[in-house]
């Protein structure tokens, strides 16, 4: 039992905006009143619901591949030495599993959504997530380049496609569906990409990226999954790609969808030398279409490593940088590329990217629909979020930063004209209440009675970078895990799951195909429920359509 006394509470899920009041915790939940127990004096502090990261890459085969590729990053960054409460490990762009949990909790984050998991490495992903303490975890299964599914779309068998998707979600013990460069990763296996939504993809005569997107968005809505289709559009990172992004958003009219890391999809221009921001056009369309949510995928200057299932894009990036490149072929499901990267202030393209992420966060009016992410580790490591919060809350600071960019870049971006400053209430929305709602997690990002007692308490300070970098207390599931800058307790997180309904006979259809085309035995493929640590199910709403 715990009482947090006298703090200014920011709880956007319940419309509470900086009201000084007590928050009581009993049995891991927020309760109306407690008798006795510990009291935390939060006078002079602000009380936030624990952070929720809607799009991050913290576990799985691709991330491990990246870890192995960048030993120099591990040497450069902080080493964590074992303590009585924590394990040892390393930080940097791709922190080790345990450290990932500590670092997220160290920012006041208590829920993370691993945004890309092929089923073939789902077991590995869940094993790593088990070793990522404190935070609750969900993961999205990659479907938009799954050959078995594409065959159904090619044949127009959309009913069977729905059963296959539902079977795959359950087999992977996933929480939702991710689409990465629909059709493009499949085409990459032919050395090609899928740049147009309406052209058949390599190896198929009817299936187009547009059909894959529509089919998956319909399936996700029909299955009533709590989180909409999580979509990484075609043509990520390419100059002029805003056209594809607008077309994709139009295609999604009538469906729910989450547009992942929109920053990477809002570029104008014809090539690298003319690349410019088209955040205004993208934000305008987005503002008018409440069926969509998005996350920023913001970029910060410095070293990082890019990891994505978007294999063809990673090859382009490797050709641009001439540094290291890793490519993984995930059999019939997807692919993956890993390229270490440095975002440089003096680089025109990088300067535009940096601005676009912030512009989208500032131009999208409704903070409930745009969330703070860096597409960790692609735009920057998640532990740099406080730097972005500072940029959002301080227009003067933004203008100072703009002076460091090449003068040419200023003509390609809109950031200098934007005077909006985020309030603490809005920060609580984009870091917690909003992403929790998008993920369909009413018990998260919420300090109302009955919600999970995940709370972050920060100093109420003018120095927001300092304030959000070092929470005074972090409470996870009612336990005080961080206090006075130290991790006091490392609780285990939950695994968030859904169980969509599907016709059991679908496995009879999948089994022979699987045994013919996969290297793994069919019976070893689905992840057992026993592998998930503290599973918690969210209901699927059956569609009325």
């Amino acid at each position: 039992m715990l009482r947090i006394k006298g703090g200014k509470v920011y709880d956007p899920a319940n419309g509470v905006n900086g009201v000084a009041k007590d928050v009581c915790v009993g049995d891991g939940k927020i309760v109306a009143e407690v008798e006795g127990g510990r009291t935390i004096d939060a006078t002079g502090m602000v009380v936030f619901p624990g952070g929720v990261d809607v799009h991050t890459h913290v576990a799985g085969a691709a991330l491990n591949f990246a870890r192995a590729m960048i030993p120099e990053d591990h040497r450069r960054h902080k080493h964590f030495v074992r303590t009585l409460t924590t394990r040892g490990g390393i930080g940097g762009s791709t922190p080790t599993t345990f450290i990932t949990g500590y670092l997220y909790a160290g920012l006041g984050y208590t829920t993370v959504n691993e945004a890309a998991m092929p089923i073939l490495s789902a077991r590995h992903t869940h094993e790593e997530l088990r070793d990522t303490p404190i935070v609750d975890k969900s993961c999205l299964v990659l479907m938009a380049n799954n050959e078995m599914l594409l065959d159904q779309i090619e044949a127009g068998e959309l009913e069977r496609a729905r059963h296959i998707v539902a079977w795959n979600i359950w087999a992977a013990k996933a929480y939702g569906v991710k689409a990465v460069n629909p059709g493009g990763v499949t085409a990459w296996k032919w050395g090609k990409d899928a740049k147009s939504l309406n052209e058949p993809i390599a190896g198929f005569s009817k299936a187009t990226p547009g059909k894959i997107i529509s089919a998956l968005a319909n399936i996700v809505d029909d299955l009533g999954l709590p989180h909409p289709l999580h979509l990484h559009c075609n043509n990520l990172g390419a100059p002029g790609n805003y056209v594809t992004t607008l077309e994709t958003m139009k295609l999604l009219d009538g469906n729910r969808a989450h547009m992942a890391h929109l920053q990477y999809h809002a570029y104008g221009g014809d090539d690298w030398s003319t690349m410019r921001s088209e955040s205004v056009l993208i934000a305008e369309y987005f503002n008018a279409h409440p069926n969509l949510t998005t996350d920023a995928g913001a970029v910060l200057f410095g070293d990082t490593v890019t990891i994505t299932a978007d294999g063809p894009w990673q090859h382009i990036l490797y050709k641009l940088t001439g540094r290291k490149w890793g490519n993984i072929d995930v059999e019939n499901e997807t692919g993956c590329g890993v390229v270490p990267y440095v975002y440089k202030e003096k680089n025109l393209v990088n300067a535009v990217q940096w601005a676009v992420g912030l512009e989208l966060l500032l131009l999208i009016d409704d903070p409930w629909r745009v969330y703070l992410t860096t597409d960790h580790p692609n735009g920057a490591a998640f532990w740099r979020y406080p730097e972005i919060i500072r940029l959002l809350m301080d227009a003067q600071f933004r203008r100072e930063q703009l002076k460091k960019l090449p003068p040419k870049a200023l003509k390609r971006i809109f950031l200098a004209e934007l005077n909006r400053e985020y309030t603490l209430y809005e920060i609580a929305i984009i870091t917690s209440a909003g992403p929790a709602r998008a993920l369909g997690l009413p018990q998260k990002g919420n300090l109302g009675i009955g919600a999970d007692a995940d709370v972050a308490i920060y100093n109420d300070s003018k120095d927001v970078f300092q304030m959000f970098s070092y929470p005074r207390y972090v409470i996870k599931g009612g336990e005080v895990v961080i206090e006075e800058g130290e991790i006091r307790k490392t609780v285990e997180g939950k695994g968030l799951l859904v169980r969509p309904t599907f016709d059991n006979k679908i496995s009879d259809f999948i089994r022979p195909l699987f045994q013919q085309y996969y290297t793994m035995a069919f019976d070893n493929y689905p992840v057992e429920i026993e592998r998930i640590e503290h599973p918690e199910f969210r209901p699927c709403k059956q569609s009325s359509r």
């Binding site: 590729m69 960048i70 030993p71 120099e72 990053d73 040497r75 540094r323």
Partner: protein
């Protein structure tokens, strides 16, 4: 000038990591403070005086005696002063060196002067592999300074080096100048195979004929002007390289064309040979 003298009591059974062996750490300390400095025997943290007798208070001049072939990281990241090792030194000697001088009378192990940026390291005996190299994953190895080896050296000498000079009197093994990006390697005793593989820029000078890879092409025979300056510089440190027209000429090979690179390998050929 005062000295701080360390005498190793006995050769440790497993490698001993002594990252505090730099004038930067030692100089401001009293003898008792020095004796209490942390060292790591395997994963166990110990005190420096568990392994070393210490004479004198902290100074900019350190002397190490005893069989230190298993003592790693001597002079790691030092910026000033001098370390003299009477005997052998273990791996990572002078890694990340930023200034000052390290001298070893015996042999040194692998990774001498890895990723160093300035300063001088002189090895009286043989050195191991990866001297002046980039650590695994890093894009660049040594970025400045000088490494001199009186004896032989191992594989990957100057791997991914960016600037600076490495001169080795004895023979070196495979992959000297692997993925080299700049700087100079002087091979006075020749090399085994694949010298200069993947080199992009930089100069490898050999005083004896080399077995070159087919991706290096012959350009000309000449005596580059810049070599006179290098010769003068190295002469002062006891390393003699010929550069007189009367004595012979350097055969210039460019490559590695498989990358493609603009590096050069200069092979000395005396007149009449």
């Amino acid at each position: 000038m005062s000295k701080t003298i360390f005498s190793l009591k006995e050769r440790p059974s497993v490698p001993l990591e002594v990252e505090v062996f730099t004038p930067d750490v030692i100089a401001p300390l009293s003898r008792d403070e020095i004796r209490a400095l942390p060292v790591f025997l395997g994963k166990r943290q110990c005190r420096l005086d568990d392994f070393f007798e210490v004479e004198g208070a902290g100074s900019d001049e350190l002397e190490i005696h005893g069989d230190a072939g298993r003592v790693k990281w001597i002079g790691r990241g030092m910026t000033r002063g001098r370390i003299t090792i009477h005997g052998d030194a273990g791996m990572h000697l002078g890694a990340y060196l930023k200034g000052g001088t390290i001298e070893v009378t015996g042999n040194a192990s692998d990774w001498v002067g890895a990723e160093m940026t300035a300063g001088l390291i002189r090895i009286g005996g043989n050195a191991g592999g990866q001297i002046g190299a980039a650590y695994r994953g890093s894009l660049r190895g040594m970025k400045g300074g000088t490494i001199l080896v009186e004896g032989s050296a191992g594989i990957e000498v100057g791997m991914r080096m960016r600037r600076g000079i490495i001169a080795v009197k004895g023979p070196v093994r495979d992959f000297a100048g692997l993925q080299m990006k700049g700087g100079t390697i002087v091979l006075m005793g020749g090399a085994e195979i694949r010298t200069g593989a993947w080199m992009v820029r930089g100069t490898i000078i050999s005083l004896v004929p080399l077995r070159l890879m087919p991706t290096f092409s012959y350009a000309c025979a000449y005596n580059p002007t810049f070599l006179r300056i290098y010769a003068k510089h190295l002469q002062a440190m006891g390393f003699t390289i010929p550069c007189e027209d009367q004595a012979g000429a350097y055969q210039r090979y460019t490559g590695d064309t498989s990358v493609p690179g603009k590096g050069e390998i200069l092979v000395w050929r005396p007149h009449g040979s």
